[in-house]
């Protein structure tokens, strides 16, 4: 029977998150020590070869992003940002890492900073994550005291300062360009792209932005080596992924799995199957900005390429399990209302479109054919909107139309 495979969460059962000594005993910062003996180019090559892709949802190759940011300019100021504004409904994987093994994240960030040549980093964290904030704050202090952060990291001559920045409840601020605006102290509106953060990010400097989970893979790749890491997962989806399961299953929660496991394995072997009296009807993969799937997906490997081939997405790893009692039109209405509520209103298609979609979704129960009009509008929005928020409603709508109408 399949079992969890833990990289990001490897130490969580073994340590007290508030104790750096615990973490050190369990191997924290060994990857950093190794990194400091290597040259950055060599490491970028390693991360490229590892096949690690962004775990925030977009799945962009991590090594390539590092390479772009590093090569933007050699001696200018650069920044590292950790996107810890975990806001996708049903997603709580980053929170687990931050609350239970903060040094895993910090170590990953220091390695990335060393790789691209940044001397300052920020963790932009969801303001509601009170416990994560406390744990990280202490961990940063401890890491500083132990010489992993600050001036002359472990005597290497490399300087890196890390600070926490709190979000204030906006889903959109998890979008990386909006996050930059917010971090600069401005209102959270998405920026025009290009330039990309690798060219001009925070305060117009090259900036590397990665998700918490992504950073937390870097130490292991250095510690355990490429062969080990690339042996995990599928052809195009290496390593592991944390899935957060909600819905009427026996054991909802977070599970770190090797990429390529199937939904059936995950839900029935790992999460204990459906609660008594409930039947699996399908799932919403990847949160509000995700896709609906039905029973036909149960045996498809959960990997970027296999899901993409079927028009679905892995997204943040959130899995909302649907059953025979799930009120599908209400669920869709809820999702649309979420987008409407979170739309910043900067661009017309998203501002007006999310409002219209919500209005239509409210009538969906009685007028199921509205789904076609909704999909059409969402398609226009995806083509015309400024940022990923307005481009997202098409994902759940199109898949809903396909499997649930």
């Amino acid at each position: 029977m399949i079992a969890e495979k833990r990289i990001s969460l490897a130490r969580i059962e073994k340590i007290n998150a508030d104790s750096i000594d615990d973490s050190l005993k369990a191997g924290a910062y060994n990857g950093l020590k190794k990194a400091l003996t290597m040259n950055p180019e060599e490491m970028i090559e390693k991360f490229e070869k590892s096949g690690l892709r962004g775990r925030g949802g977009a799945g962009f190759p991590t090594g390539l992003k590092q390479k772009f940011t590093r090569s933007s300019c050699l001696d200018c100021e650069k920044y590292i940002i950790c996107n810890a504004d975990e806001g996708e409904p049903g997603t709580f994987k980053d929170r687990v890492i931050m609350e239970r093994d903060p040094h895993m994240l910090i170590e990953g960030m220091i390695i990335a900073a060393y790789v691209i040549g940044a001397s300052r980093g920020f963790i932009y964290i969801r303001g509601e994550y009170q416990r994560s904030i406390e744990v990280l704050q202490k961990a940063i202090e401890d890491s500083n005291k132990n010489g992993f952060l600050g001036e002359n990291v472990l005597g290497s001559g490399f300087n890196f300062n890390l600070e926490l920045r709190l979000g204030a409840g906006s889903y959109l601020c998890g979008e990386e360009l909006t996050l930059l605006e917010s971090l600069e102290g401005k209102r959270g509106y998405p920026r025009i792209k290009p330039p990309f953060p690798a060219q001009k990010g925070l305060w117009e400097s090259p900036t590397l932005i990665n998700n918490v989970e992504t950073f937390s893979h870097l130490p292991a790749i250095l510690n355990e080596g490429l062969d080990w890491y690339t042996s995990l997962g599928t052809e195009e989806s290496k390593g592991t992924k944390i899935f957060t399961i909600t819905g009427r299953v026996q054991k909802p929660g977070f599970y770190e799995m090797e990429m390529g496991c199937t939904l059936r394995e995950l839900l029935f072997d790992i999460a204990g199957g459906m609660k008594d009296g409930y039947e699996f009807k399908g799932a919403l993969l990847g949160g509000a900005a995700g896709t609906f799937v039905d029973e036909s997906f149960l045996d498809i490997p959960l990997a970027y390429e296999t899901l993409k081939a079927r028009g679905a997405t892995l997204g943040s790893g959130a899995i909302l399990v649907l059953d025979q009692e799930t009120d599908m039109p209400s669920l869709l209405h809820n999702l649309m209302d979420f987008f409407k509520h979170e739309s910043c209103g900067k661009c017309v298609p998203c501002r007006v479109g999310t409002t219209m979609l919500t209005e239509m979704a409210a009538k969906l129960k009685n007028e199921p054919e509205l789904i076609h009009k909704m999909t059409k509008e969402a398609h226009y929005m995806a083509e015309t909107s400024l940022c990923p928020l307005g481009q997202s409603p098409i994902l759940p709508l199109k898949s809903y139309r396909e499997y649930y109408s």
Binding site: I192, E342, K346, V348, P349, V352, T355, T384, L386
Partner: protein, 909 residues
């Protein structure tokens, strides 16, 4: 460095453009009118309206053209069925959240697009309106504009107008998503910092933000005409477009793409022009009979004036006559006025209010560098690395110049403010030096002491471009040696550390400019103040290069021009001294008169004229567009003089505090009723154009002067239109030789412009200074304690100045309800310590008294003034600050100390 020229294609049309330029702008510049509502060429691209979609070869899907930088070989499709359908869809969306009500009072860019796409017909729309259910608010609280969120398309143009263009940053969105709307400050427009400049009105593409004045009357489609002219207020010279309807000015809009203002205006230029149509305008000549003004015909008035002027000249000699010209009238008016004084009065007794503002600045600059005008262009206020602002409340007195400064600040410009009083610019200042009043020379000598001690001087500049080179420098060095930081701190109260910081920034900036103002010039040591400033400029080499120099922004729309064209007791038009025989011959030849007719002796200056009236030496005075009762120092003395004068003619557009004492009042023309030219603060010769008819029997100023001359039997020349006068000015004034109406039809030209093909001169002194040997001259000066001092009887020092919302003696500005709604009340600023000491509470009426006179006003308790010092705006004649000031003059420039009067203050019981 100039960007590379590249070639792109849009819809198959090949277009040349600069690499990296904005695709939408390039398309529009080439006649391809891609729609778009959030884009404006003055603003950074926003990408909000999503109407400028296009397709670009090699880029997936649709792209917003406003967010694309042009690259060589780029192939763009701007119009095809898919794109147009997409645009139509977006507009349809916008319509759903939009109240389409339209009252015709503004241009509605959205409405134009809606009609273009046929969406004005309901059958072509897909979506029903949702805006009514969104409970959008309205904000009608501002005196000058109203905001209606139901008509707002949330395009960001107003927010960016306020932030990026005007540097004010007052507007933002409240709420989020579909319910968001614009707010000023914390939510109520009238309680925000909004000062009513109306930039947001100008850039709003719909009817969301619209000006209030004339909202009911104005029909944007049907003006009688639109006239571009120069703003009548301060010396920035903003170009305004007047919307004239039924013979009245309904609206004033900034002219985009034209210097000096590139469309920007302040509250006065946009909302302060109602005075033109005020029922209080003078519309007929008035003759005082038995103490009462009676309406008269022009013929009666002109005959009486001619008779009196000639009679007094015959009886007492030509020295018994004098005239005040005006900074508020055109070059043509001023030129004819000074010609009148020199040929009809046969003396040089002509001066005007420049004597009261920048005479000392001009005197010092003429002696040191040979030109009294600003050395830089207004644009340089944005691009210079360091701006040293001394005695100049630039945000209130030159609001549009200040927009350039604020934009410079956003780019990282270092700003040093020297002012005894807090001014709004302090918010932007890297360092603020707050010396006590009257210690400017000391603080500047102190700064030079540090600059020399730290060896931040520019030796090469001193050797090559300063008269006497290092030897002359040694004399200065010796003098400033006594102004150690400690000694300077003792005199000025400015901490030594701040002096060091300011000196370091100014001296070491790659480029640095100075803006000096009334705080420096209106002093008995005004000339010395400016000498000292120039000395600092020379030893650091911060002049004679682009974006370096010294600038005295001018307070009125034609202060610069009036002196340029000869309204001066010492100079003929073009700064040609009257005392020189050759110059007299040249002028006599040009004017076709015997050269003996031209008086070789310099005439009396403004305050000297009033003193001569008081002594009885001047018996007749001809005042054009000035109000000396309010503007001259020592008001009681001025009133005494005018009460006893034999004959006073005042030519103005309104009754003023001065017309009361006139024997004849002549109704003249406002800026809007005449053709002509003015010269602004950066030496730009700009057009005035007639927009409306003269009220009643009022006449253009130059025509009145010619009429008086004719009645006196003096021929000043034949002119039928103002352009003919300007041709003569161009002949007389070497620095304007190359300028003609034709050349300044669209854009002004900065003098010197000696030839017809000369482009004008944005920066002065690049090659040499305008002194006889081409070098700058150092004038080391010592700090002198004021004669007037705080005493037991008069323990406080009164400073005075201007406000954004009113203007000088308020003859024009206070005739506008809009401006009065912002500020219409006199007050005195008093430090909390002093308020305690004299037991004065906020808002209480106080009695203020000097050795010369007294007034009553309201107290405002703020720490914007230092203990021991007070400040009053001088616009309000019911509390005339000049009742307190004295007419002791700066010996070199004859300017009076308007900003230093010892007074006492008592609560009115």
């Amino acid at each position: 460095m100039d960007k590379k020229q590249v070639s792109i294609s849009i819809d198959g049309k090949t277009i040349k453009a600069k690499e990296g330029s904005n695709l939408l702008q390039v398309a529009r510049d080439n006649g391809i009118n891609i729609p778009g509502l959030c884009y404006h060429k003055k603003l950074s691209p926003t990408g909000a309206c999503r109407l400028c979609v296009c397709k670009i070869d090699g880029m997936p899907g649709l792209t917003m053209s406003c967010t694309v930088a042009v690259k060589d070989g780029m192939k763009v499709i701007a119009f095809d069925e898919e794109i147009e359908n997409n645009r139509k869809h977006t507009l349809d969306y916008l319509l759903a959240e939009h109240n389409e009500e339209f009252d015709g009072a503004y241009r509605d860019e959205m409405k134009e697009l809606v009609e273009h796409y046929g969406l004005d017909k309901p059958e072509n729309r897909q979506f029903s309106p949702i805006w009514e259910s969104l409970n959008y608010p309205k904000d009608d609280s501002s005196p000058v504009l109203s905001y209606d969120a139901t008509k707002c398309i949330k395009c960001f143009r107003c927010i960016k107008a306020c932030e990026e263009v005007q540097g004010k940053n007052i507007l933002s969105f409240a709420e989020r998503g579909i319910t968001k709307y614009i707010v000023a400050g914390f939510g109520i427009w009238s309680e925000s910092e909004c000062d009513g400049c109306g930039e947001c009105v100008q850039l709003c593409p719909t009817g969301a933000i619209v000006e209030k004045p004339h909202r009911e009357e104005i029909k944007i489609e049907k003006p009688d005409k639109k006239v571009i002219t120069s703003c009548p207020y301060c010396g920035v010279g903003c170009q305004i477009e007047l919307h004239v309807q039924d013979g009245r000015i309904m609206r004033s809009t900034g002219v985009e793409g034209v210097s000096p203002n590139d469309g920007r205006l302040c509250v006065k230029g946009r909302f302060g022009l109602d005075f033109v149509h005020s029922p209080e305008r003078l519309t007929t000549p008035l003759i005082k009979k038995n103490g009462v003004f009676e309406e008269a015909t022009w013929e009666e008035a002109l005959q009486l004036i001619a008779e009196k002027f000639t009679g007094i000249k015959d009886k007492y000699g030509s020295k018994a006559l004098a005239g005040y010209s005006s900074a508020k009238v055109s070059n043509e008016d001023n030129y004819i006025f000074q010609k009148f004084i020199r040929l009809a009065f046969e003396n040089n007794n002509v001066d005007y209010c420049t004597r009261l503002c920048h005479a000392s600045t001009v005197t010092a600059m003429l002696k040191s560098i040979g030109d009294g005008a600003g050395s830089n262009s207004i644009e340089d206020f944005e691009t210079t690395d360091c701006l040293f602002v001394t005695g100049n409340n630039i945000i209130e007195t030159h609001p549009i110049t200040a927009t350039y400064v604020k934009r410079g600040y956003q780019r990282g410009q270092k700003i040093i403010v020297v002012d005894p009083r807090w001014t709004p610019l302090v918010k932007y200042a890297t360092v603020w030096l707050q010396p006590r009043l009257g210690t400017d020379v000391a603080i500047l000598n102190g700064l030079m002491h540090i600059i020399i001690r730290e060896n931040w001087i520019d030796k090469e500049f001193i050797e090559k471009r300063v008269d006497g080179g290092m030897q002359a420098f040694e004399t200065l060095k010796e003098l400033v040696a006594n102004y150690s930081p400690e000694e300077t701190e003792r005199i000025t109260t400015v901490p030594a550390s701040k002096l060091f910081e300011a000196a370091k920034i100014y001296a070491n900036a790659p480029t640095a400019m100075i803006a000096t103002g009334m705080g420096m010039s209106q002093a008995t040591v005004g000339t010395n103040n400016v000498f000292s400033l120039l000395n600092m400029c020379f030893i650091t080499g911060q002049i004679g290069r682009e974006r370096c120099g010294i600038n005295p922004p001018r307070g009125q729309n034609n202060v610069q021009g009036a002196t340029d064209v000869g309204a001066s007791p010492v100079n003929y038009p073009g700064y040609i001294p009257v005392g020189n025989d050759e110059n007299r011959r040249r002028m006599a030849k040009l004017w076709n008169v015997d050269y003996e007719k031209l008086d070789p002796k310099p005439g009396l200056s403004t305050v000297e004229i009033m003193q001569a009236v008081h002594h009885g030496d001047v018996k007749a005075l001809y005042i054009m567009g000035e109000n000396p009762v309010v503007t001259d120092p020592n008001q009681n003395h001025t009133i005494e003089a005018l009460e006893n004068i034999d004959f006073l003619v005042v030519q103005d557009i309104f009754h003023t505090e001065t017309t009361k004492y006139a024997h004849v009042i002549l109704p003249a023309s406002s800026f809007a009723e005449k053709n002509g030219t003015v010269v602004n603060s950066d030496r730009r010769v700009l057009r005035l154009r007639k927009a409306v008819e003269l009220p009643g029997l009022a006449r253009e100023d130059w025509r009145i002067i010619l009429d008086i001359a004719t009645h006196m039997g003096v021929n000043l020349g034949e002119y039928s239109v103002s352009e003919e006068i300007f041709k003569e000015i161009a002949e007389a004034v070497p620095i304007m030789h190359g300028i003609s109406y034709e050349r300044i039809e669209k854009h002004g030209i900065q003098w010197p412009c000696p030839e017809k093909d000369h482009p004008g001169t944005p920066t002065l002194f690049l090659e040499k200074f305008n002194t006889p040997n081409g070098k700058a001259k150092l004038f080391p000066v010592e700090h002198i304690e004021q004669k007037e001092r705080a005493s037991a009887e008069f323990p406080l020092i009164m400073n005075s100045g201007r406000l954004l919302f009113q203007y000088h003696s308020a003859t024009m500005s206070r005739k506008n309800d809009t401006l009065n709604a912002f500020a219409n009340e006199s007050y005195v600023l008093i430090n909390p310590e002093d308020a305690d000491r004299y037991d004065i509470k906020e808002g209480e009426m106080v009695h203020i008294e000097s050795a010369r006179g007294s007034l009553k006003t309201k107290a405002r308790i703020v720490d914007e003034v230092a203990p021991g010092e007070l400040f009053m705006p001088w616009h309000f004649s019911e509390a005339p600050v000049n009742a307190l000031t004295r007419d002791e003059l700066d010996p070199m420039s004859k300017i009076a100390p308007f900003k230093y009067s010892a007074v006492n203050i008592n609560k009115v019981l």
